[in-house]
Symmetry: C3
Subunit: 351 residues, 3 copies
């Protein structure tokens, strides 16, 4: 059902994106069309990645997921970097982190909790994720934030590049840990479950769809980025609000939907993996990669967020850790996470 | 025994409060009389609420407790707001939070721990409370603190009102969770214990005492508030110290006593509930309610604490969570909490 | 094997330290000689303390360890205080905290984890330590940091002295808790293990070695302190980097080695005790003692770290708590801790 809606959105959205651009439709209309089309494309990329994952086996599949899972966000960010919109990129990274931890995680817990009194998920994974969230957000993002106040711009950039390399290396180590050295150590029946699933598309079809969708996302992303300024002016939104709330929701909408669906089916391990795993991917792979990529552009991007951004991420991480560390969830825990997201949303709207 | 002392304090205190005011006794003397009388009145209100709770059953009773539990503090704060003493109100909210978490919690653990080697309490409740503490203090109080630095006064007030509404809604949701949807899910024999207790007073008597005591508290609170300035000058105390330490201890003294008593009887669930439950009530109900009430006064109160206040609350929450998250306590954990309170007390005294 | 290396280092290092000073060897060469000799001496002091511990029984032994465990660091710091290098002292305290928590703890987890898939340690001790880390770093160090911004210098010093006294009292209480009131409550076979070990040296020999080594460390420390300025200039290192990274590694090198060795032998309880126990000793005993000692010098030292120092310590504590709170470790958790140390190291180098 949901897949059909996305298909229709795609069939209408892609041509409209091209035509609208040529005929100079109003910017706000185009902004909405671009956003919806990207949401639909992201869902196709997600399904293609999932099919490939099943075909190639869990190890290479895990690697694939870890690389392509946030491809849409990466592409939008690269075009934003190219356009010199460093503030938007950092804001959308922030938005991904708090959106995944609080909104996706919260809605999953809430909606799953309306059906089931108590839902359980793997407590070892939860703790492993907690450690990485602490490392990535509280250490690797906070240190440059606070140190940069006493550093020159060049030194801040050196620090950022150093941290980016360490983050990516640890991200690779985490994959090694999860897929090779400690695969199955903390789970019981993971492998069996995986085997029984059938891929939706064949290997060739999946690769083709992934490649095509990526190209189209790139094309539309570039156009989307250039609407930000006008939309911000006309709607009274700041760059920060567009980045933290709008771009982050567009870039992650497909994931949001599937996490909530999984929670509703009581597959909490998958739901949590989407919410927290995606956060970790953004923080430990997408963000540092963008720092390194930015070195090739005219304006390089230090790993230095604004104070409101860093506070939002740090508090989101602490709240998420305390709530999910026991491997259980209920509707109220979900409501708490969503309430935290609302507070931050109001804050960024007013800034 | 303790009840008799409070009765004597009342019989002497109330007339003295009136007479002293008419005869213009020295301000410091009156300050002391007002404080002691309020402590005695608060104890009567506590007993009346408890009696009512037993009469009306656990659901309505929980609601009653959740509303009247910090009535004294609410009344003092409203009169402070009316007198334009916004700094004192925020300081006394801070004082309630750190006082309940560190002093009440710490003394309960310490004194209970002198008698029992290891005391246990419900680990699910502890985790539930940890999540709410994180939400209320680390998210809902820290966000306006940090965001307001880049906001106009009007926008800060808008953010404060938004957060206040969200806090109260989540507080109501928490009651719904605890009293309706998940009642008894995480406990074994709670209901049985409750049933066996006899209310101290009949329904009518309890309501009468509650109403009378509330009126008298209101009368004395107004007088108390107007002594702050003189007392501060004469004792060399700042507004901050009066709010954080003095008002908070006066407003919570009766609760302090009963929590420690419960710990001494090894009823740790009740002791923890008083300490942490009361904190949550202040943070999620009293504080936001005061923000909303302040809209009707000449000076409205934003939910923006001073930096020392927010640091004290955040560190108190983190320490309390780490110490109580395992559902066990001993005298040393209590000593640690009290030591943290002493450090903060010295800090606020010197400020 | 390792002991023989330290012996050779000692036999060469001590005479060279004296001769080099008289013949005015290049400062950097002398800096290296001093550092290596102190590392060797520290190892002898460690072995002497350990022998004494076994002779005098666990209670007095625990007390001995708690007092002499960081003697080298204390001595270097006292000479630094005497030379007015308050910044270096605070930096080396910071370095001890993050070095022990992240580098020692991390290497132990990592190297132990290469040999064993999952290593376990006492979860009660881990939680006990977490509470104390929270108290010492997050409460006792952060409060003066934030409050001092609104305090005069005299009041900051008053607050520092008050906190120092509370820290030492709670440290003594912790020893009382561990060695007297709750000895063996949370462990099963601790006593039996202890009984079977043979002391390396007799009581008399151990005391002699301890006394001699302490004297020589004092002699060399004073010379070492006076090389900092020149070394900093010639190597392009800041006072902060010398204190946080170099002095801290020199002062703790012997402990580092033995913690990693213990982890490799799967004695994780001992490894964790060295890493975290040593941190607590620095934070709750060495640091406050230095504050009190500094009152007798011309320049007294407040307990106020720089912002980067406090941020490094706070994030190190939070990361360590989240990672070690479950009483289990693996190579990846070790890698995460070491990665955090690297990030901080780069940061302090650039400052």
């Amino acid at each position: 059902m949901m897949n059909r809606i996305f298909l229709i959105m795609l069939i209408i959205g892609v041509p409209l994106s091209v035509i609208g651009g040529l005929l100079h439709f109003p910017t706000i209309l185009m902004f909405i069309i671009y956003c919806l089309t990207i949401v639909a494309l992201a869902s196709f990329m997600g399904r293609a990645t999932e099919s490939l994952t099943l075909v190639v086996g869990p190890r290479v599949g895990g690697l694939l997921n870890a690389t392509f899972g946030n491809a849409v966000e990466l592409i939008i960010s690269i075009f934003s970097l190219k356009a010199g919109l460093i503030g938007v990129v950092l804001a959308s990274l922030t938005g991904s982190v708090i959106g995944n931890l609080l909104l996706v995680g919260g809605l999953s817990f809430f909606i799953g909790g309306l059906k089931f009194k108590v839902q359980k998920f793997n407590v070892f994974d939860a703790r492993h994720n907690s450690g990485l969230l602490m490392f990535a957000i509280i250490v690797a993002f906070v240190i440059p934030e606070m140190f940069s106040q006493n550093l020159t711009e060049t030194k801040t950039m050196t620090l950022s590049v150093g941290i980016a390399i360490i983050l990516i290396l640890l991200y690779i180590a985490a994959l090694l840990f999860k897929l090779v050295t400690h695969r199955g150590v903390y789970t019981k029946d993971a492998d069996e479950n995986v085997v029984t699933e059938e891929p939706e598309w064949s290997k060739g079809k999946a690769i083709l769809i992934l490649a095509l969708a990526t190209l189209v996302v790139a094309y539309i992303s570039e156009k989307l980025v250039h609407t930000f300024e006008t939309v911000g002016e006309q709607m009274g939104w700041t760059e920060l609000f567009i980045g933290v709330i709008i771009v982050a929701i567009v870039g992650n909408a497909a994931e949001h939907a599937s996490a909530v669906l999984m929670a509703f089916k009581n597959k909490m391990d998958v739901a949590v993996e989407i919410a927290v795993g995606s956060t970790l991917q953004v923080a430990m792979f997408v963000a540092p990669l963008l720092v390194l990529i930015s070195l090739f552009f005219s304006q390089s991007m230090p790993l230095v967020f604004t104070v409101p951004e860093i506070i939002a991420m740090v508090t989101a991480v602490l709240l998420n850790i305390v709530i999910s560390n026991d491997g259980e969830s209920n509707w109220f825990e979900g409501a708490t996470l969503v309430a935290a997201y609302l507070i931050m949303g109001i804050g960024f709207y007013l800034l």
